[in-house]
């Protein structure tokens, strides 16, 4: 995962003119959207274990760690063409480079309201609108856990956001339109599991940040919640209970397996940002919590999305079974078959079993092309499962397009179109 989902969807898609519209057009309605102040209870002593758990559930580490860098020491760059580069800050307890000097209140305010100790508005790269669903107590626990980390003196580079995106105060208006939400009480009409699932999905899990389409002002479109979205060029699939384009046809066990391990036979393996979400966050959640998420996701009303539709086929098995009549087929046999066998099962492990995955062809093979261009890696209980990328060596755009076309037609009924362009687009965006 090279780019952060939230920030780039927020900023990279925002036409400059729209910023003006945000500033000029929204003020009048502002008061209607101001969330009710949260009532503070007397703070309980912090629970570090709960904090550790929620830190993982909220997937803080992925964004606040530079590639190959010290965990939580920040520095991960989010490069946004035309806008600039943002760096995730150091959130270790270092007094100067990190957040060691912050009070708990300041930390809660940043995480739940998007306001830094100096009153600066955070960009919603930080998913504070979702984190606002967590209680102050939960956020204090997270703070307590972060305080146990070794301090890192690594300085976070200054953002280089170009005007007008650099005007942080614009965020005031965005916040008026798009959140932050508040933590909310359990729905007594629903089961405890459902309520726990809603909390995890909408709060720390911030699933909607990727899986929910955005409105024109880049807030989450609640009318199409979890209905699938394009984020950094990848398709974050439809999580509603639609049988054809959503999760409706998945069994509870499959869904639980996918969330907790990143793979479910018949549905493939998480790649791209989702691989990070599983590897750094979901696989640490308890079985009960995973089950709660399944229960909640099951309740999302079905929303039919053509982009998430895909019909699989069952090609013949066996190493001798791959056709050799097209370049794409030959390249699959040479380049892909070390891990993915003729019928799509994994050669070494089920993590490479791609049978039934939407990525094999949905949305004209969008994620298939992405994974060829970017590769993917997922931390599992048995090490990092890696899919290498195939860019920068002897494989041309046309070669990659041919591989993608072969995969789409060999494993699914999809009809690839203009795949070379798709490869070029994916390379440019990467």
């Amino acid at each position: 995962m090279r780019n952060l989902m939230h920030i780039s969807s927020f900023l990279s898609g925002m036409p400059r003119a729209l910023c003006g519209a945000l500033v000029g057009g929204v003020i009048g309605a502002a008061t209607m959207f101001v969330p009710a102040p949260h009532a503070h209870a007397t703070p309980l002593p912090p629970n570090v274990e709960n904090g550790r758990y929620l830190t993982r559930a909220a997937d803080c580490e992925v964004c606040h760690t530079a590639e190959g860098g010290t965990p939580y020491a920040g520095g991960r760059a989010f490069s946004l063409p035309g806008i600039g580069v943002m760096y995730a800050p150091n959130i270790t307890p270092d007094k100067t480079a990190g957040i060691g000097a912050w009070t708990d209140e300041q930390f809660v305010s940043a995480v739940r309201k998007g306001v830094s100790p100096h009153g600066k508005r955070l960009y919603p790269a930080m998913p504070y609108p979702a984190y606002a669903r967590m209680s102050d107590k939960d956020v204090r626990d997270i703070r307590a856990y972060l305080a146990t980390l070794p301090p890192s003196s690594q300085k976070t580079p200054a953002n280089t956001i170009h005007f007008p995106f650099s005007i942080r105060s614009l965020m005031v208006f965005w916040n008026m339109l798009n959140g932050p939400a508040a933590s909310y009480a359990d729905d007594p009409a629903q089961s405890a599991e459902w309520n726990r699932g809603r909390y995890l999905v909408e709060g720390p899990g911030h699933c909607g940040d990727c899986h929910t389409p955005r409105t024109r002002t880049f807030g989450l479109d609640s009318s199409r919640a979890l209905g699938g979205n394009i984020i950094n060029g990848w398709r974050a699939y439809n999580l509603t209970s639609d049988r054809q384009s959503g999760l409706g046809a998945w069994s509870d066990a499959e869904l639980a397996q996918y969330l907790s391990t990143g793979h479910a036979d018949g549905h493939g393996t998480a790649t791209g940002d989702m691989a990070d979400v599983v590897g750094h966050s979901l696989r640490y959640l308890s079985a009960q919590d995973i089950h709660a998420m399944v229960v909640y996701l099951r309740s999302i009303p079905p929303l039919h999305t053509a982009e998430d539709m895909l019909e699989g086929t069952t090609p013949p098995a066996g190493d001798a079974a791959l056709p050799q009549n097209t370049r794409g087929a030959r390249l699959y046999a040479s380049t892909c078959a070390g891990c993915h066998m003729a019928d799509g099962t994994g050669r070494q492990s089920s993590f490479a079993t791609i049978t039934g995955a939407r990525s094999l062809g949905a949305d004209n093979g969008r994620n298939l092309v992405q994974v060829l261009v970017q590769g993917s890696g997922m931390q599992t209980a048995t090490g990092v499962q890696i899919m290498p990328h195939f860019v920068g060596g002897g494989l041309s755009d046309r070669d990659l397009a041919d591989i993608a076309s072969f995969v789409m037609t060999h494993f699914t009924t999809a009809t690839p179109h203009n795949m070379e362009q798709a490869v070029q687009d994916a390379k440019r965006a990467n």
């Binding site: 050799q324 290498p388 990328h389 920068g392 060596g393």
Partner: protein, 743 residues
């Protein structure tokens, strides 16, 4: 034998002088009931230091003149075991098989009776490279075999009080034909060792050869097929630990910082070491995986140093810059520039070739055990002497306390003519008490290779009214590999004669000629030998240019070359043969095209024709390649064919796909996902190799196919697409864009 697979050494211009004087300096060293015949193995540029043979080599009688430094031996033990101890290493080229054939032929033994051992470093430079093995061994090995046979026969005849002329040898047995008495070689070995060595042993009449010239199975097949062959990677020394390394990814950079504690916290990690230059880190562990995890945990930080801004474009720009301005005149005949200046018709073309990695299947590795009293090194090396010398230098141990144990090489291609990985291993091993095996990851192997240089060549010709060359100028711009690798070999003008292979040395001759060399050392990268070296660079340029001239003249490419080769019967013979076998004058199936190349390199002639189909401009199917080869006397015909097949495929990978690129001083290709190698389903459907019978001395063969690959394919693709291919790799995005422009 036939052959040699790999690469590298300097040009035929200084091909080894295997003189009779050297070859006759054989000595009987044997004792203790064995005949041990030592022969000075002429190697490319042999003969500097003259150490005594290593004691491990057996019971040697010190009856050798001080100046005699044997480095190959035939040992015949009392139990009739026959061992050939060879300085040339086996890296696929079939040298073990060929050597056994030569020896067995003259000695009178069965091939199966001969065992092979790798020789320790001897005097001088033992090099396996430059397609020289057969060339160098052809005479001395036969002479050694014949001399030993003569001594054994003499010993047996003396015992029988018979006439040696009445004795024959077969299967390591001497037979007195009139009486049918027989003695094994082993039975008379001790006695034979007391006899004088015949200085001019009688060699067999080649027409009576039963092994040489007839296809023989490889002697290393069984071990390799059963997984028993020991490569450097497979060495297991009791108590050894496994290390893996990371060198600064930018040449010239140094270590900035690392999290040593994190690596040491990984289960199985034993030590984190830094080398003397502070530019490479080694994590030592119980097994490779722990070492690899430890290396990742270090989170290395580098000071990139002065080459941090080098990119591929920097290198190409520098090369193109060398097309004008001063240059060394490396070869000249007549006044070619003047003729071109006044010519009615001229033609100029510029060619560009990329940096290339070796990527042998066996990643770089080395095992060393450094003790206060000695040092042992186990590795695959094409240059054992330098491996020994670097350890001597680092450890301060005397030469005779440093032993290099040469192992099977899982692909040389010139990579193992470098010894820096031995230096690196010894540097780390001397920091620990146990034997240390260092294994490079494939990523390290590709990003810290020493690369075949990038080159730009420009050729200009003056042409007569039929389109034939009346004068030719050729400028090569690029590094002089020999300047780093063996500085004394750089000419006093600063020329690297390796560049002449397939450039000055061609089957053609021109009325006027001038070769210029503008030296440009690649910044931020170390360049080195690669399979085919100068020949690979030169042939792509020269045969591409000749093909363009044929096209310009509206001539058939074979007919045009034939007209230029009238004075060269060996070249003409291979060209005519390949044209006939490939059906050059027969119509092609629809959609197909053919290309041709002719060459003289490494002492061998070859002409080749490729038949390709290009369904679209970036998709090439190679249907068939035909090659006719005259490599002099053939020792093992099937292995010549095997080397041509493999050499072509090795060359096709590079020609079609390969280019090392740099960004911010870092090599961008890291593993086989980005370093594409031709696969079985992309290889030519068929390669047919035809051998021209010859009684000339054997030429090299390991690099011949590789040199042909790019030109024969580029010429076929040019015919298919109606456009020229002057830049490698052929399927680069650069060529695709150029094709769209031309189209």
């Amino acid at each position: 034998m036939t052959t040699r697979a790999t690469t590298g050494t300097p040009a035929p211009a200084h091909a080894p002088a295997h003189t009779a004087a050297q070859a006759s300096r054989r000595q009987v060293l044997g004792a203790g009931g064995a005949l041990l015949l030592a022969t000075l193995w002429p190697t490319p540029r042999s003969g500097r230091a003259q150490p005594a043979p290593h004691p491990e080599q057996g019971l040697l009688v010190e009856n050798t003149p001080a100046a005699f430094a044997p480095n190959a031996y035939i040992r015949i033990a009392a139990d009739n075991r026959i061992t050939l101890i060879l300085p040339n290493v086996e890296m696929g080229q079939g040298i073990y098989t060929g050597s056994v054939m030569l020896l067995a032929e003259e000695l009178g033994v069965d091939m199966a009776q001969v065992a092979i051992e790798a020789a320790p470093p001897g005097g001088g430079a033992e090099i396996t490279g430059g397609s020289t093995s057969v060339m160098t061994e052809w005479l001395p090995l036969r002479q050694a075999g014949a001399a030993a046979r003569s001594m054994l026969v003499q010993a047996a005849a003396t015992r029988w009080q018979a006439n040696p002329a009445e004795c024959t040898t077969r299967s390591a047995t001497i037979i007195h034909t009139p009486t049918g008495r027989s003695l094994s070689f082993g039975a008379v070995a001790a006695q034979a060792a007391t006899l004088p060595v015949p200085q001019k042993p009688t060699l067999k009449d080649p027409s009576t050869y039963t092994l040489v010239g007839h296809a023989q199975h490889r002697v290393d097949s069984v071990a390799k097929v059963q997984g028993r062959a020991v490569f450097g990677m497979d060495i297991q020394v009791p108590g050894q630990k496994i290390g893996t390394v990371a060198a600064c990814p930018v040449e010239g950079g140094t270590l900035g910082g690392m999290n040593k504690a994190a690596a040491l916290a990984i289960r199985g990690v034993q030590a984190v070491l830094v080398n003397a230059q502070n530019n490479t880190v080694c994590v030592v562990a119980d097994h490779y995986w722990a070492a690899r995890k430890g290396l990742r945990a270090l989170k290395l930080h580098w000071h990139d140093g002065p080459n941090a801004h080098i990119n591929t474009q920097t290198i190409y720009e520098q090369l193109h810059d060398g097309l004008s301005g001063p240059a060394i005149v490396a070869n000249t005949k007549g006044d070619a520039p003047a003729i071109i200046a006044h010519a009615h018709a001229t033609y100029t073309a510029t060619y560009q070739q990329p940096l290339l990695a070796h990527a042998p299947m066996e990643p770089i590795n080395c095992t060393a055990h450094v003790r206060p009293d000695g040092c042992d090194i186990w590795t695959g090396t094409q240059i054992a002497d330098r491996a020994r010398d670097t350890a001597v230098e680092l450890t301060g141990l005397p030469k005779d306390k440093v032993m290099v144990h040469c192992q099977y090489i899982g692909g040389g291609f010139g990579r193992r003519l470098e010894h820096e990985y031995v230096t690196q291993c010894v540097d780390f091993a001397r920091q620990v008490p146990y034997p240390l095996k260092i294994i490079w990851s494939r990523e390290e192997d590709l990003t810290r290779d020493r690369y075949r240089p990038a080159y730009v060549d420009q050729m200009s010709a003056a042409l007569d009214d039929k389109g034939f060359i009346t004068a030719l100028t050729h400028r090569i711009v690029g590094p002089a590999v020999v300047a780093r690798w063996d500085p004394p070999e750089l000419t006093k003008d600063g020329y690297d004669e390796d560049l002449s292979v397939a450039t000055v040395i061609t089957p053609y001759s021109y009325p006027a000629y001038r070769l210029e060399f503008a030296r440009r050392e690649a910044p931020g990268i170390v360049t080195a030998w690669w399979r085919g070296v100068g020949g690979t660079r030169g042939l792509f340029v020269v045969e591409g240019f000749i093909d363009e001239l044929a096209q310009r003249a509206g001539a058939d490419p074979v007919a045009y070359r034939r007209a230029m080769l009238a004075q060269n019967p060996r070249a003409l013979a291979v060209l005519d043969r390949v044209a006939q076998e490939a059906g050059w004058n027969t119509p092609l199936p629809p959609g197909r095209a053919r290309g041709v190349a002719v060459q003289f390199a490494f002492g061998s002639y070859m002409a080749s024709i490729a038949e390709v189909e290009m369904p679209d401009p970036d998709n090439v199917i190679i249907h068939r390649v035909c090659a006719a080869v005259d490599c002099g006397r053939v020792i093992n015909p099937d292995q010549v064919i095997s080397q041509i097949e493999g050499g072509l495929i090795f060359g096709f990978s590079a020609a079609l796909y390969n280019e090392i690129t740099l960004e911010d001083g870092r090599v961008q290709q890291t593993n086989f996902n980005t370093w594409r190698v031709m696969r079985m389903n992309e290889a030519p459907r068929k390669i047919d190799v035809f051998l021209i019978p010859s009684t000339e001395d054997p030429g090299g063969i390991g690099e011949v196919g590789t040199a042909a690959a790019a030109p024969v394919l580029a010429n076929a693709m040019a015919a298919a697409q109606g456009r020229r291919y002057r830049t490698l790799p052929l399927l680069s995005a650069r060529n695709a864009a150029a094709g769209k422009e031309q189209g």
